[in-house]
């Protein structure tokens, strides 16, 4: 347990009823409310407490700290759990809420928008004809901030298809469990948020120094980073390597697993030219299934772009395309994307497969740490617990 100073927490949980548009906030100053450090356990408790049919968003206690790769948040709905990475975890925590509970079903299509401790439902009937990228861009444009984090459905999610994938800031990879369908069933096209708040640490200087030393030790051990190729052999292929533009980290990660491939302009072009030049790869099963089906790196990337725009889980789409017989082509991918009802969820794990040891994934994600990074460097609970005093002001055990 830790004290109620709310270090690295906002001390606020909000429940928003999509059916009525009303929200209810819970100030959490009683330390017993945080008696479990795992955000997954807290989210599960909130799900039960809100009737069991809610969407829960949350962050780990270390999310946003300087512990390496402390970037993760989570979404839980109907027993399905997905991480949210990139900058979404940090921004979610800085939005003013530790957990957001969305219950009920909206009477019309729209999105949830929260920032600075304010939450609202924004009707968005016009989004029906848009893909997930257009929706993300529209939300950012309408709300006047290009760095709003958007967890977005495409048309597949609107229809509640079981293979609908929730797209995180244009990219797919986090959702391998059809979370998009969970939003669609509640008439939600997206959940958008921006973090403009601030968080305190118990001992800022000590936390910084400890995290710095840990990160340097990791970097020294890991050696040179090669983006996605540092985590999967798939990205070591020549046709993939030729298209790499730059490697991109999530918040606080010193050893990124994300590589952006440019397929619509010269990969080494550094200037801001094409607005949609390619795709950010971090989806191991998606790329694996694409290569397995015979697509080269360029067509695999285009296939993943098409799936992301549709809000469709790519391994599921490509598996269906392969099952139709003959060579898998982009035309065949288009054909499958036009018939979502025929596609079953492939249930191929991405971040969930990071660890070979049961429980490690949940333990890591529950703290707000990226499972992929921590499986690479070795997830040691004792080592993480050494941050307890500088972070939270008290000892905690994991």
């Amino acid at each position: 347990m830790w004290r109620a100073e709310m270090y690295l927490r906002n001390g606020r949980i909000v429940t928003f009823d999509l059916s009525t548009g009303e929200s209810e906030e819970q100030e959490v100053t009683d330390e017993s409310a945080w008696d479990n450090l795992s955000s997954i356990k807290i989210a599960e408790k909130l799900a039960v407490g809100s009737g069991g049919n809610s969407i829960i968003l949350g962050t780990g206690v270390l999310t946003g700290s300087f512990v390496p790769a402390a970037c993760a948040g989570l979404v839980l709905a109907n027993g399905r759990l997905i991480p949210i990475l990139g900058f979404a975890g940090l921004e979610l925590k800085l939005s003013g809420f530790d957990f957001v509970v969305l219950k009920g079903k909206a009477s019309e299509q729209g999105y949830i928008w929260f920032r600075d401790g304010i939450i609202e439902f924004v009707p968005a009937q016009a989004f029906r004809s848009m893909d997930s990228w257009q929706r993300t861009d529209k939300i950012r444009s309408d709300q006047g901030d290009g760095e709003i984090q958007v967890l977005c459905n495409g048309p597949w999610g609107d229809g509640g298809n079981e293979a609908a994938q929730l797209i995180v800031d244009h990219w797919g990879g986090e959702d391998k469990f059809g979370m998009g369908a969970e939003l669609g069933r509640r008439n939600l096209v997206a959940i958008a948020f921006r973090g403009m708040g601030e968080l305190e640490l118990a001992e800022p200087d000590r936390h910084f120094e400890d995290a710095f030393l840990m990160m340097r030790e990791h970097i020294g051990r890991l050696g040179a980073n090669d983006g996605f190729a540092s985590y999967t052999q798939l990205a070591k292929r020549d046709d993939f390597a030729r298209l790499v533009h730059r490697h991109v980290a999530c918040y606080g990660c010193p050893y990124p697993c994300r590589s952006f491939l440019k397929v619509y302009e010269e990969p080494k072009e550094l200037r801001l030219m094409a607005k949609e030049p390619g795709y950010l790869h971090y989806d191991i099963p998606g790329l694996s299934k694409a290569f397995e089906s015979g697509l080269d790196a360029k067509d695999a990337t285009v296939a993943l772009i098409k799936c992301a725009k549709a809000g469709a889980e790519p391994a599921s789409v490509i598996s269906k395309a392969a099952s139709l017989g003959g060579k898998v082509s982009l035309e065949k991918i288009d054909s499958v994307l036009s018939r979502p009802a025929e596609v079953k969820l492939a249930k191929m794990l991405n971040f969930e497969a990071s660890f070979g040891v049961a429980g490690q994934y949940e333990a890591c994600l529950g703290l707000g740490l990226c499972p992929r990074y921590w499986s690479k460097v070795g997830f040691d609970k004792t080592e993480i617990a050494s941050f307890s005093e500088s972070t939270l002001g008290t000892q905690f055990s994991l």
Partner: protein, 110 residues
């Protein structure tokens, strides 16, 4: 002493932003930092904007570094523009952004 930025080494981790606020205000927030990570995610275009006392704005784009200009963008009107922020104080002599940067993108000179 000054900070030099090599933008192509940037991996967009954002640690420089949060550590800046930690040093300045003892809190974690990208909203008060003197350095801003500018991201256009769909185009994979990102770089840093640093507000300095001696050189004005240092705009470190992927295609090169320029000084004395206004930032092209800092997250729109919903965010706090860099022109309203305090300039870098070099953390009193040991810049934390340069220290925490995992790739050596931000370098202390002089």
């Amino acid at each position: 002493m000054r900070l030099r930025i090599e933008p192509l080494k940037c991996i967009c981790c954002g640690l420089c932003e949060t550590v800046c606020s930690l040093n300045r205000d003892s809190v974690l927030t990208p909203m008060t930092s003197s350095v801003i990570l500018h991201i256009e995610d769909k185009a994979n275009y990102f770089g840093l904007v640093l507000k300095t006392k001696s050189e004005g704005l240092v705009v470190a784009r992927p295609e090169g570094v320029s000084t004395g200009q206004q930032a092209a963008g800092s997250g729109g009107p919903g965010a706090k523009p860099i022109l309203l922020r305090e300039p870098c104080d070099l953390c009193g002599g040991e810049p934390k952004c340069a220290k925490i940067c995992p790739t050596g993108c931000i370098i202390v000179e002089g």
